[in-house]
């Protein structure tokens, strides 16, 4: 290669007959050999080293993934701590005027079907607990917990705070799961009292049903068919905006956040070849319409830990951070349970680990530079590779955000 360059570097500039191929007689200078040899050694060592690392990594991941089923067999109390306490608090007192307490709640002491139905479908409307009204959005755990896990955590909650010794079985949960399969969240205490257990007593009404079907046909056409360079969103992000692998889940991301990302692809503050093409082909109104569409979508979680990260370390980072490395908790900005804080802080729950990890790498590598006050650049820089995989895998275990459309908010 170097020889060819030399030939090109000295083209015959006189007439043809005076041309002499004098390079043929000149030796290649010694330093060029040294350089070539150094590069060859480096290449060989790097290839070998990479092959080793990939092998070791694969083995480690396989081992860790094998351990996961054992870790999943935890007690109801452990599931409560991991799944419920971020909102309801470890002592189940809730959060004033936001999250209802479980201790002494009529919902916990009622028919066992009530707790199980709430866990399976979530709640989306006002409920009365202890004389106070909470108008909150609880996620559905149907896609992230098995029947056996739901049974254990429901039993724990009812035994600890409902005063009922009866055990809820996985079979009971299975029946409850089939009972209202495919329905959305419960629309407040009034619907639960009417459909599941009248003993819940008078409950506040959720008001008239909101039309949840998204009406704008132009936006739906973009989502499903696309237009020219604006390829159909669903062709990569899935029919329900659920994403997959390194393609992000869009369902439930804040509207303002999605609009900003699309703009940032255009300005180059965020880089991705496909998305730059697509975002550039959309008008401002279309970006807003799509953001509105996806922000209100609820889709079951399709994310699973897949990077072999240490999920308990990931949980630690998400809930408490690691101040010895100058890392604040993820949830101190992205909200409890990683549900996000509109408009600036996206929901992280149920996001695909490969995507989360790739973004954390992009904050460091410069592929993404659109964080306010460089918050994410700093965080990503302080995360080790193992921590990135750990936190990405943990976030994939969380229930999806109970997305709220602007109308319902």
């Amino acid at each position: 290669m170097i020889r060819r360059k030399r030939t090109q570097a000295a083209p015959p500039d006189g007439p043809e007959e005076t041309f002499e191929p004098y390079e043929e007689f000149r030796r290649i200078p010694l330093p060029v050999y040294w350089i070539a040899i150094a590069l060859a050694i480096w290449g060989a060592v790097t290839l070998w080293d990479n092959a080793q690392a990939v092998g070791v990594g694969r083995q480690e991941r396989a081992e860790q993934i094998e351990e996961t089923p054992a870790a999943a067999l935890n007690s109801g109390a452990q599931i409560f701590e991991a799944r419920c306490s971020t909102c309801h608090q470890p002592n189940a007192v809730g959060v004033r005027s936001a999250i209802p307490p479980l201790a002494g709640s009529r919902f916990v002491a009622a028919d066992p079907a009530v707790v199980v139905q709430i866990l399976l479908h979530g709640i989306d409307g006002p409920i009365d607990v202890g004389g106070r009204t909470f108008d909150a959005h609880m996620p559905s755990f149907a896609s992230v917990l098995s029947d056996a896990e739901l049974a254990r955590v429901a039993t724990h909650v009812r035994q600890t705070w409902g005063g009922d010794r009866q055990e809820i079985t996985a079979a009971f949960v299975r029946v409850q799961r089939a009972r209202f399969a495919g329905r959305g969240a419960w629309r407040g205490g009034e619907e639960l009292a009417r459909v599941v257990d009248p003993a819940l007593g008078p409950q506040p009404s959720a008001g008239p049903a909101v039309i949840s079907a998204f009406a704008d046909p132009a936006v739906l056409r973009l989502v499903n068919q696309g237009r020219g360079e604006a390829w159909a969103c669903s062709s990569c992000h899935g029919a329900a905006g659920q994403g997959g692998a390194n393609i992000p889940r869009l369902a439930g991301l804040p509207e303002g956040y999605i609009v900003k990302q699309l703009q940032d692809y255009v300005t180059g503050r965020r880089r991705n070849e496909s998305m730059q093409t697509v975002a550039g082909a959309l008008t401002d109104a279309e970006r807003r319409g799509l953001a509105r569409y996806y922000s209100g979508l609820r889709a079951p979680s399709t994310a699973k830990p897949e990077l072999g990260g240490d999920v308990s370390r990931g949980e630690q980072l998400a809930l408490y951070g690691d101040w010895s490395r100058n890392l604040p908790a993820c949830f101190s900005c992205h909200g409890p349970s990683g549900f996000g804080v509109a408009p600036g802080f996206p929901s992280l729950a149920a996001q695909h680990p490969a995507y989360t990890a790739s973004q954390l790498a992009a904050w460091v590598g410069g592929g993404r530079n659109n964080s306010d006050v460089q918050l994410m650049n700093e965080v990503a820089r302080n995360l080790s590779d193992a921590d990135r995989r750990a936190v990405a895998d943990y976030l994939a275990t969380l229930p999806p955000v109970p997305a709220v459309t602007q109308e319902r908010r």
Binding site: D13, V32, T46, W323, L327, F339, V373, L375
Partner: protein, 342 residues
């Protein structure tokens, strides 16, 4: 190409051109070789991995200070239960001590990392200096007295369901104190500890100015605390970022309402995870901007604001009792009708 020692076999218009090409090849090739060696050294771990951010200046400073025990070291039994209750109050004050909290703040909003973080008024350093004399109330204060002050001012207890701080001897004090006591496990008594309180910033030559602070705020704080300083809430109305002024923030009697205290806290701790990002000047200015806004009244005020300013705020760096932009500061904000998000 052409060597000076050997005359060129062909007549050349520009013999310098070849020399340049050779130099270029050497330079680029040498560069590649150096890069390869360095990359190899980096891979093999001979160089320190900067990516993982192992050694930021601030982390070194933090690591050199007292290290409180981790949560996993909380003992079992009744004492451990009380420590956990105290920790729960500390982290989620408005729910676990709801009768005595009149705003949307928690202890952990200003004492970061659950009261562990050095230079963020850590509890392990506070525990060892009480009881002590405080000029704020001109008497010896026990830790209970001190915590009562936190509820009265920082948690704005006057607008709480009971209208005041926990009564003397209340379990809230006991649980919080045993949590602090446990955090201070192994800490020396009666010694000044490094990382105690908030750092004291020296006044800059330019002084502080809310107008300059407004720009600092917009660039560094508004993303989290909101352009209007009222914090931000999640979909369930749960506070994620605390309000910095207005009816759901600390009142005029709180230490954080002083410009110098806020400046020290901000410099050392804000934006979260980016200690010392702001210059001293920026910290002073933005603290002045935040604390020149109205907030709940000082509960000690009995007469006029000016009288209260003289009696309780003499010699302080505060906007309380001053007139700024034609407005008397310190008159207070109305009691919120609901404790939910605005």
């Amino acid at each position: 190409m052409d060597d000076d020692a050997k005359p060129s076999p062909t007549p050349r218009d520009n013999p310098g051109k070849g020399l340049f090409a050779r130099d270029l090849i050497y330079a680029v090739g040498g560069g590649f070789a150096l890069f390869a060696i360095a990359a190899f050294a980096f891979d093999a771990g001979w160089l320190r991995d900067r990516k993982a951010g192992e050694a930021d200046g601030d982390q070194d400073v933090q690591a050199a200070m007292f290290q409180p025990p981790p949560d996993s070291a909380i003992p079992d039994g009744p004492e451990g239960d009380a420590i956990r209750r105290g920790q729960a109050i500390f982290m989620n004050t408005s729910a676990n001590a709801s009768d005595f909290v009149g705003n949307n703040l928690s202890c952990s909003n200003c004492h970061l990392d659950g009261g562990r973080r050095a230079n963020s008024a850590p509890m392990w350093a506070a525990w060892t200096v009480y009881p002590k004399y405080r000029s704020k109330n001109k008497q010896i204060n026990t830790m209970e007295d001190r915590v009562k002050g936190c509820f009265t001012y920082s948690m704005n207890a006057q607008h709480s369901p009971t209208g005041g701080p926990p009564p003397p001897g209340h379990d809230v004090y006991k649980d919080l104190q045993i949590y602090m006591h446990w955090l201070a496990t192994g800490a020396p008594t009666g010694e000044d500890m490094e990382g105690a309180g908030y750092p004291e910033l020296e006044m800059t030559s330019a002084g502080y100015d809310p107008a300059r602070g407004a720009q600092v705020y917009a660039a560094n704080c508004a993303a989290c605390h909101g352009g209007d300083g009222q914090g931000q809430y999640d979909i369930n109305g749960r506070p994620v970022f605390p309000a910095l002024w207005g009816p759901r923030s600390y009142n005029w009697g709180a230490g954080m309402a002083r410009v110098n205290t806020a400046a020290g806290f901000i410099k050392a701790n804000m934006p979260l995870g980016q200690s010392n990002r702001l210059s001293d000047q920026q910290a002073w200015d933005v603290a002045a901007y935040i604390n020149s806004h109205e907030r709940p009244r000082d509960p000690r005020q009995t007469g006029t604001v000016q009288e209260a300013a003289q009696k309780n705020h003499g010699g302080e760096e505060t906007y309380y009792g001053r007139t700024y932009q034609g407005r008397l500061i310190g008159v207070g904000t109305p009691e919120p009708t609901s404790r939910a998000r605005p």
